[in-house]
Symmetry: C2
Subunit: 205 residues, 2 copies
């Protein structure tokens, strides 16, 4: 029997397996029995720990929100490598275990217009605005005529790497968040951000 202070209590295992299944197939098409079976416990225990399937769902939401909170806090404290040209999406992926279900879950939260997803989006936007302000203060970026819209545009361009990763990989023939793809993507985006789309100076360096 596991101790109550064990990191991997049955409760945590259930929550993690639920997160994986929810991210992969969506909460509605995953059954309590499937979660229980993936966590190697009985269906009754799932309800015992979370009250209901809906309770499990919000526990997963809170867990994911907590992960993002931690990441944003680290970013604000400067504990993350956020050098110029690095997308936050890329940084986020590096600070998550490989194959983490969290990006997939975030995708579902945003697609469904879920309140938990909107909250994460707001925090992401706030972090992006803070980063933009810092760049502007250092003279490294122009605020633009409509700074809020500018921030939103840059941030959305970053987020879409996470959201449309599979589709972009399909048309590009390379994973835009893999090693090669990320480099190509970052170079091209930086070029646009530096010279614009219409800029005639296309000299390759």
């Amino acid at each position: 029997m596991r101790s109550a202070h064990d990191d991997r209590t049955a409760r945590a295992v259930i929550r993690d397996r639920a997160l994986e299944l929810f991210a992969a197939r969506g909460p509605d098409s995953v059954t309590v029995r499937q979660i229980a079976s993936a966590a190697e416990v009985s269906p009754g225990l799932v309800i015992h720990h979370f009250g209901s399937k809906e309770g499990l769902r919000s526990a997963v939401d809170e867990h994911v929100a907590g992960v993002f909170d931690g990441l944003f806090a680290r970013a604000e404290a400067g504990g993350l490598d956020m050098s110029d040209g690095r997308s936050f999406a890329e940084t986020l992926l590096e600070n998550l275990p490989p194959g983490s279900p969290i990006p997939g879950y975030l995708r579902r939260l945003l697609l469904a217009g879920d309140a938990a997803g909107t909250a994460i989006f707001r925090r992401w936007f706030a972090a992006g605005a803070a980063a933009a302000d810092a760049l502007v203060a250092r003279g490294l970026m122009a605020p633009g005529r409509d700074p809020v819209v500018r921030t939103a545009f840059v941030m959305a361009g970053d987020l879409m790497l996470l959201l449309l990763r599979d589709q972009l990989a399909d048309v590009l023939g390379v994973d835009p968040l893999g090693a090669e793809g990320a480099a190509r993507w970052a170079e091209e985006v930086l070029d646009i951000y530096r010279n614009g789309l219409f800029g005639t100076e296309g000299e390759t360096s």
Copy 2:
């Protein structure tokens, strides 16, 4: 008996109501009975016409793909207002009835990684690449160092307006696809595309 090409057959009504419900809540959380009730028919008729719920789902997918095919065909033939600075997302929205469930359905197709969604994304990308080629040929746009990535970036930035419309509206305080929001968005994006993010000149060339 109504003709097979009449769009007001019960079959078409069921398909349209299913599209609306699928877009709003996701196919998995919508029941055959709810669709039947929305279409004011019996649950049995839904099965009679589509064979199964899965059959309905793919009929809806085909219908949506057909709408996009028509739109892309019109765009290629030059029948759509695609003047500079207009996002395709915006154009698309104007060529759909107000409150159409199709953008919401596309969102679900893309973010769930559905094959039907990937197919639409591919066509969208091809249309974007064609438009980019035309602009480059007319000297209105630089191809960039990595034209494929450049096209993907511009196209995804456009798509983002559709996919994150609600979240952007929340953060910006204005619907980015509404009259005022679209104008602000277009102006800022054009500014970036013209002068880059770092450009010190706030004037348009």
